[in-house]
Point group: D2
Chain length 335, copies 4
Amino acid sequence: MLIELQPDTTQSEKNRLIDRLIKMGFELREVGDEKLTIVKGVDTLVQIREFENLPHVKRVHPIQMRYKLASRITQNEDTVISIKGVSIGGGTLFLCAGPCAIESTEQIRVCAAASRSSGATALRGGCFKPRTSPYEFQGLGEEGIVLLEDAGKEFGLITICEVMDALQVDFAADHIDILQVGARNMQNFTLLKKLGKTKNPILLKRGFSATYQELLMAAEYIMSEGNPYVILCERGIRTFETYTRNTLDLSAVPALRELTHLPIIVDPSHGTGVRSLILPMARAAVAAGADGLMIEIHPDPDLSISDAKQTINFKEFSRLSQEVMAVHRAINPIR
Amino acid sequence: MLIELQPDTTQSEKNRLIDRLIKMGFELREVGDEKLTIVKGVDTLVQIREFENLPHVKRVHPIQMRYKLASRITQNEDTVISIKGVSIGGGTLFLCAGPCAIESTEQIRVCAAASRSSGATALRGGCFKPRTSPYEFQGLGEEGIVLLEDAGKEFGLITICEVMDALQVDFAADHIDILQVGARNMQNFTLLKKLGKTKNPILLKRGFSATYQELLMAAEYIMSEGNPYVILCERGIRTFETYTRNTLDLSAVPALRELTHLPIIVDPSHGTGVRSLILPMARAAVAAGADGLMIEIHPDPDLSISDAKQTINFKEFSRLSQEVMAVHRAINPIR
Amino acid sequence: MLIELQPDTTQSEKNRLIDRLIKMGFELREVGDEKLTIVKGVDTLVQIREFENLPHVKRVHPIQMRYKLASRITQNEDTVISIKGVSIGGGTLFLCAGPCAIESTEQIRVCAAASRSSGATALRGGCFKPRTSPYEFQGLGEEGIVLLEDAGKEFGLITICEVMDALQVDFAADHIDILQVGARNMQNFTLLKKLGKTKNPILLKRGFSATYQELLMAAEYIMSEGNPYVILCERGIRTFETYTRNTLDLSAVPALRELTHLPIIVDPSHGTGVRSLILPMARAAVAAGADGLMIEIHPDPDLSISDAKQTINFKEFSRLSQEVMAVHRAINPIR
Amino acid sequence: MLIELQPDTTQSEKNRLIDRLIKMGFELREVGDEKLTIVKGVDTLVQIREFENLPHVKRVHPIQMRYKLASRITQNEDTVISIKGVSIGGGTLFLCAGPCAIESTEQIRVCAAASRSSGATALRGGCFKPRTSPYEFQGLGEEGIVLLEDAGKEFGLITICEVMDALQVDFAADHIDILQVGARNMQNFTLLKKLGKTKNPILLKRGFSATYQELLMAAEYIMSEGNPYVILCERGIRTFETYTRNTLDLSAVPALRELTHLPIIVDPSHGTGVRSLILPMARAAVAAGADGLMIEIHPDPDLSISDAKQTINFKEFSRLSQEVMAVHRAINPIR
């Protein structure tokens, strides 16, 4: 439920109203100067009219949606996330690159150097790998996290790493800038709540059969615990088409833009699973209005331990970077 | 089966080989100067080695794919289709617009004028409407075709109209430039064969649960009857996501580009089914490398008899046209 | 729109009302004694209240659904189709078997004999084959239809054959009992309308990405042309699972049962595409409440020209027949 | 990799071979008397031939599949799980019922009584609820687990409860018989590994966009940690059809039967999401060969806190129980 206050409400009047609502058993968030959102409490059982009779209340919106903090209705202006001088959202193009799995100091360092020189501002690298089969490489774990942190520092890049479990969060949160939730964990609610208690921005990947609404409700799990810094990531959905590993659903970008104020980036590497499609689909993602891209790179993709088929080399990444920036420039003056 | 000839084969040697193969019961097509494709005949039962023993044959490729003429293996260079000075494929951006259903002389004329002034070179308009329910408006039929033809002539636009049935083909072929096969009819093989016998270019829409391979085999039905002028159109597939009417699968553009030499265009109107998503997805389609776009426009979309939710007005189309051309210019110098 | 008449309306009063409505431009059907359905006419533009002011009208139901004749709302009792002593719907189990494609007199005769001896009452056989690639076997055509007719007569079986095109309908309607619409043609509206003008029962297969509603609207196309004898057939939908050729959606059986009075049968051969799954899924279909089954059989499935992987031999069919009848007996006393 | 031993290998010869392989760095399991499976170790990098040169080795099978312990290749006979006299798998029909969410002592007690009197041998009840929105009822937690345990003891039923997180496992494992992994957590690998270290049987639900192969690899995560007692559960997949909440994929039952020796049960409540479809689809599941069913019941479904639409009352469950047993008897003599 969204409570819109009268424009002339003073801060002390507002505070008194908030106190009263808290005593009534509700949990609240202030949304800008003139709105309050009730994020917890049995709002469906309470009459809207009772709220409208409270002092200073102009109008009450019964938010039917099962997410509120993530909704553009409660916050109209775009969220811009800033970390160490890097902005995500708000008109700039965020470019993140790195290997699917961190394999060695040398590997992550050369990836960092290549990312940096091609214009990326963030370095990704998998340390805990969610592998479909238990017999596949599971990642270097905390050792990998330290390698990633070091490479990020050396090359002046912010860092992104997936966490698969609430138990991995604290260590990763101390060493890595942005914590990623993978597609398979989009509805791992314990993990989401734990991440909601950190101060790190969270990169939340869309589950491969999740609707836009479900993605936003997963974001809401993080936000309702107190962490407003969620970056949404489209990474392909599962369909009948088998030529591509997933079907990259770029309509998610403008559709989510309507529904939420959160930044939206795209991962064309997982989203297509086909090396030759990454470049054109990266361009398309930016043209659709994405705030950024996440790209898998490797010094020698064919030798990559995981996801070799969807990883590009440094030269290909350099070209990708140039082309997506050209598209970004082309559409930005006219947006 | 693809027969590669020795580079020094003379035309008369080639002709003698062709005669011999025809006498053996095969149907052939010449592919460039140095290749022959056997398009009909029991090729799986015949030993490849027997073909390799024929004179002037350099190598024989057993094409496993169930399409041949549409394949990039048999023709490497892109097909460019030219009609009345308008090119489809080959680097230019083809822009086609018009109403979902033709309603009146006035309606199609104002749409034609708006299309023309915004840079479109083709006018589309539905005359035979494939409607899910028998109680919905079924189109103006042949009367609509004449209206479309007249509007095309008046405003210097080539024309596109869907045909739903083999019986509608002859009349439409006489009056309209490009005949369209709708998504529901992608595997209406009688219709495809009939269209294969016309000389008009055919716009073939992907069925909403058709794979890339199936789309190419449908094109092959047309091509194997003698009509090489097929334009493929991605228009969204059916998935679990309900926010959009269909999921526009833009990966189809670069993926089909690898598999076929045929031009590939995109219909973001049907592909999203949501008015506000048409502009960003049109930009994305061009950025993904599409050869053209097909857009539903209407003087007053809310009054449109069909597909109101996915139709934009003339002003929106004008903006779309400018933005997609900017994206096209941005990616073309570097492709 | 459904018009409910007052219970004491006489036949002549009813006739006068019908005349009046026809003069107003509507096309009608009588539904039982006390209901009229307006099947054609711009009912959304007409005020319901105007209809309620007509004499003898008790109530007017604005049928939101885009199908009417197929709906259980307009006809509550199950439709039972009877052809030459064979019933489809209404509590008996209809069993139809035969080869995917008719190959020869001998082949269809042995299939007919095996079908008969295992308890099937209908013989199916493909004559016009809708093949994804133009280079695959396209069927024996009208010659096959005559072979099927002869085999049906010799062995006392009613016959079923797919027609792919309106042009094939007249010949097939003269020689075959039940005409089948394949999944690819479920929305070939010209074909559906043509079949609506025949007197043969129509077996309508669900398109592989069609919803229940769309299947019923396709049935409505046939019924609104005057042919009430439509049999619906679930044959699997397209999903991400690749182990099976399609995902057999057996929930369609009880779900359609709620929505329509038409008989519903299941094709586990196409529905699974895997030989070993046909028997258990045939049992499951009957347990779900299906009115019948359609099974592909062949004297030597591995030599079958088409669909070898989903065809069972005569011994397997005999076992299937026994098992599904046992299931049918088990659930029938308690339904 | 599966190592087949020579038939005359003695136990001491076998032990020596095992020791040698362990020293080479592999982790092994014995499969029956004559087979060894290497479950951990870099088997793809090792030459099969080297293994074949080891003493007593008859043949080496490079298992391409990414699951081994779950595969019918390594264990041909069906796994039968026995808990407190209740068998799951092996020809009997396992029937489990209970409320979606435990709400109170009284509610779970009346559900237990109804389950018992209708022939169920297991009681399910949600304590930790994975809710899509953070604002929905999240379950009674450990308090609910104790209520479930008590009700199970009082009515002589084994108990099943979902755990959502590795942290919930220890407590639940002490109080509940079978621990359930929900569809959203099918690839929560940390949870799976933790469950692999318990001694409780695990009910593993298929993710709503997981393939059969992925379900088996998830089972393998549990089994490779040492817990062989995994029960697979089909509960519907996500497709384009919206009439049902999910599409219950009953082909999974016979398909998984071919691929694995593990018991397979079906949840038609979540699988359809529609109350009226639960009975026919329960019958269909048993007819397809399922080893058991899991059904949501509630004293007054419309008052159920969660999943009201897919919950049946006690009388409906009693009828369901009778009908599925009739189907089970009908197909069992002939299987």
